[in-house]
């Protein structure tokens, strides 16, 4: 078992090194002639207007919150799904009840207008 995770760890390390190699090579080979006009921020060919770190729209936060609830639910559903074959039918129905409670949460969010994009 620990050999498998050693493999994954090495894979990560080499997976980070492999994209870096062409970037380092490009830094050695490519020209570097910076000037202020080239390095200015792109805005379709005109001068930038206003701050570039624009205000964060609150609706993104609401969607992230709903995502969090359902993500934690799905994490709890993984062990349920894995052991379904060995367990009797009423355990399946208990899992369905759990899903039903969270669907009630989704319906509440829907009716309260949390899933609208205003």
């Amino acid at each position: 078992m620990q050999n498998q995770w050693l493999y994954i760890g090495l894979f990560f390390v080499i997976g980070i090194i492999v994209p870096v190699v062409p970037l380092v090579f490009a830094r050695l080979v490519a020209p570097r002639k910076p000037n202020p006009i080239k390095q200015s921020t792109y805005e379709c060919g005109i001068e930038t207007v206003g701050e570039s770190w624009v205000q964060f729209k609150a609706q993104y936060y609401v969607f992230a919150l709903v995502f969090l609830v359902f993500d934690v639910e799905s994490v709890f559903l993984f062990p349920w799904a894995l052991t379904l074959k060995q367990l009797p039918l009423f355990v399946v129905l208990e899992g369905v009840l759990f899903i039903g409670i969270l669907v009630a949460g989704l319906v509440y969010a829907w009716r309260k207008g949390m899933l609208e994009w205003v």
Binding site: G15, P22, Y42, S52, Y60, F70
Partner: protein, 409 residues
């Protein structure tokens, strides 16, 4: 254990015997062998990626009724190599005000999150990186790294278009992760394991695409949204926000975003093949016949797997070049109001029916699962049609009043 049966272990034992013959301690020899195997696998993935650039450009050209690259090499086959040389020698322009560290890490992370998925992708029954028993969870976890890379790229670019593109893309990707994770539970239930090889072996009787076609459909849609390809490609809406989160990237950094996206699409094609179409095996039990025993050779299985993954990639490309882009509010509404409830219904249906019908003979089980999916699909379409009918009626009502008033006058 011959070379044809088990190529990787055969070569591994041979090299191990050489290395221990040179008096290296066994632990260092095995780590060195791991590193060599990983480098070979990653180089294979990168070569496939280069081929995918050619496939993508030729296919998009044919969809748009033109020829595509055909100057460089026969049929334009050397075109991707020319692209790579061009991207490496281009100047690397860093915008002023950009957050240097995060700006440089983002493309590397985007490429890493895709390369790491190849560790668990089984090309054949004995050609794979590692057979984790939590393979599906690993897929979801590695995919989340890609989301992180996008927000890093958008935030550090000091460009409001990049930031807007990154915001929309991240809200898109996290939203569509929910149906994807819920649908990943369905092969887990049907195969009783989360390991990717185990799921492939459990499909030697019947493909999961036939046991649960709705799950295949929802996974396909969620996968396309996770990849950020059309019709969900708001991050690089070329006509709206000019390349979105990777506006300020030039040269090879942009190259890693682009190549990473193509390899990610092919890898997800491979996962669709594994989870629903039987992966490297899956010939409905035909491979047990003596006449078709050559189907069990690992290299033939690898070819079968790549063919199935190419088919999945073809479907993803087909959808990309046929339909227009969807607006962000439509996209999020489609996910939270349609896909999530539908995927929960399909999960509950699969869990209950799998428990009840497993005692019946096999053909009745398959028929029952397939029929239940058709019933759910039909009910969903009817609900949508009646919803559409009610909306049209509500829109018509003020107009009909106006018409009758005009007639009386």
């Amino acid at each position: 254990m011959t070379f044809w049966n088990n190529p990787i272990n055969f070569i591994g034992y041979w090299l191990n015997s050489i290395l221990t013959g040179w008096h290296l301690p066994a632990a260092i020899a095995s780590v060195l062998l791991y590193v060599i195997g990983i480098i070979v696998l990653i180089l294979f993935a990168m070569t496939l990626d280069i081929g995918l650039v050619w496939v993508e450009r030729k296919v998009v050209a044919r969809f748009q009724d033109r020829l595509g690259p055909n100057r460089i090499g026969p049929f334009g086959l050397i075109q991707p190599i020319a692209d790579i040389i061009k991207m490496v020698i281009k100047e690397d322009i860093t915008p002023d005000g950009a957050d240097k560290i995060i700006y440089n890490i983002a493309p590397v992370l985007a490429a890493t999150s895709v390369i790491v998925l190849w560790a668990i992708l089984p090309l054949a029954s004995t050609i794979y990186g590692v057979d984790l028993n939590v393979g599906l969870l690993f897929i979801v976890a590695a995919g989340a790294l890609g989301t992180l890379a996008i927000i890093m790229a958008g935030w550090s670019s000091n460009n409001k278009y990049a930031l807007l593109g990154a915001f929309r893309m991240v809200s898109n990707m996290i939203s569509y992760e929910i149906p994807m994770v819920i649908i990943l539970l369905i092969p887990t239930i049907l195969a009783n394991t989360m390991s990717v090889r185990g799921i492939t072996q459990a499909q030697s009787g019947m493909w999961f695409a036939i046991l649960s076609p709705l799950a295949l459909l929802i996974f396909l849609i969620s996968a396309i949204a996770e990849l950020g390809r059309s019709p969900f490609d708001l991050n690089e809406a070329e006509s709206e926000i000019v390349a979105g989160f990777h506006i300020e990237y030039t040269g090879m950094k942009f190259g890693w975003f682009y190549a990473g996206e193509l390899l990610h699409a092919f890898t997800f094609g491979g996962f669709i093949a594994i989870l629903f179409f039987g992966g490297y095996g899956g010939f409905f039990g035909l491979e047990k016949l003596a006449a078709l025993a050559w189907l069990n050779i690992p290299f033939v299985q690898a070819l079968v797997f790549i063919a199935k993954a190419m088919f999945g990639y073809w479907v993803i490309m087909w959808i990309k070049y046929s339909v227009p882009r969807i607006r962000i509010d439509h996209m999020l509404a489609f996910n939270w109001k349609f896909l999530v409830p539908l995927s929960l219904v399909v999960l509950v249906n699969t869990a209950i029916l799998n428990k009840i019908l497993i005692v019946l003979p096999n053909w009745l089980y398959v028929l029952g699962m397939f029929a239940s999916n058709i019933v759910i699909g039909y009910v969903t379409v009817e609900i949508l049609r009646s919803y559409g009918r009610n909306q049209r009626k509500a829109e018509k009502l003020p107009d009909s009043h106006a018409q009758t008033q005009e007639q009386t006058v």
